[in-house]
Assembly symmetry: C2
Homo-oligomer: 145 residues x 2
């Protein structure tokens, strides 16, 4: 568990800034998109293959945050999730300013792994969330940007 | 399935406006809160019992949206979810201007039930979402407000 909260809440440069996205694991993004685009009226603003996690990530603009569709492109945790749970809500992701700085400032003794997530942003998944929720962090700006 | 998307996207008065909250089903909000408040640094901005769904709803401010903790106070769908899945992500909720108007404008042939949700806002759950995701709508302003 990485404690990085503080009394200053969302204004803490080592803490959460906002909810970046809610992610939905799907077997086939192309098959899922008509519901999100046509029925819900959301627009795709980004679509990529993230090589290292091995997932296709499709971001739909919900105004204040993204809905992210996640499709595995090879075996891995998302495929395992689909095999065990079927399609559904997979994780939520908060934006933070600087993941390495935040992890250094916090108690990062649980070996949180930092990787290149969607939209060229460093990301990590928190360990030890106590209520069955997978929580990702992503940086507020592209890596090197 | 209720089609209410349009080419005008989030500016359509009969469509989605923004992501209101991501909801997490928990067995005990009091036990869950220290992680969200102290570790994540989020602040509780609203806490209520919604009588008709029979749930306690606790809203934490994530800046641009809420994280909603949902605890069943009597048997019902959320208790059933906990029994079957354990704690975890339960639904996402989008804000819309006027649920009855929206349902009237859309093809509402699936008998979507409108109820008084959290923060004195009319709410409904969409039927027929195709990717295993429970999607709620809530109005942008309190009922009668």
């Amino acid at each position: 568990m990485v404690p990085f909260g503080s009394e200053s809440g969302l204004s803490d440069p080592n803490g959460l800034r906002w909810l970046d996205h809610a992610a939905i694991a799907v077997a086939d993004i192309d098959a899922a998109l008509p519901y999100y685009e046509e029925t819900l009226g959301l627009k795709v603003v980004h679509d990529e293959i993230a090589d290292d996690p091995g997932v296709r990530l499709c971001y739909l603009d919900a105004g204040n945050a993204y809905i992210q569709l996640v499709e595995p492109v090879r075996p891995g945790p998302v495929q395992q999730f689909l095999d065990e749970h079927g399609e559904g809500l997979h994780h939520i992701c908060f934006a933070v300013d600087d993941i390495p700085r935040m992890l250094a400032a916090a108690d990062d003794g649980n070996g949180v792994q930092v990787f290149m997530g969607g939209r060229e942003r460093l990301a990590c998944f928190l360990s030890g969330t106590p209520t069955g929720v997978l929580i990702e962090l992503t940086e507020t700006t592209p890596h090197g940007g």
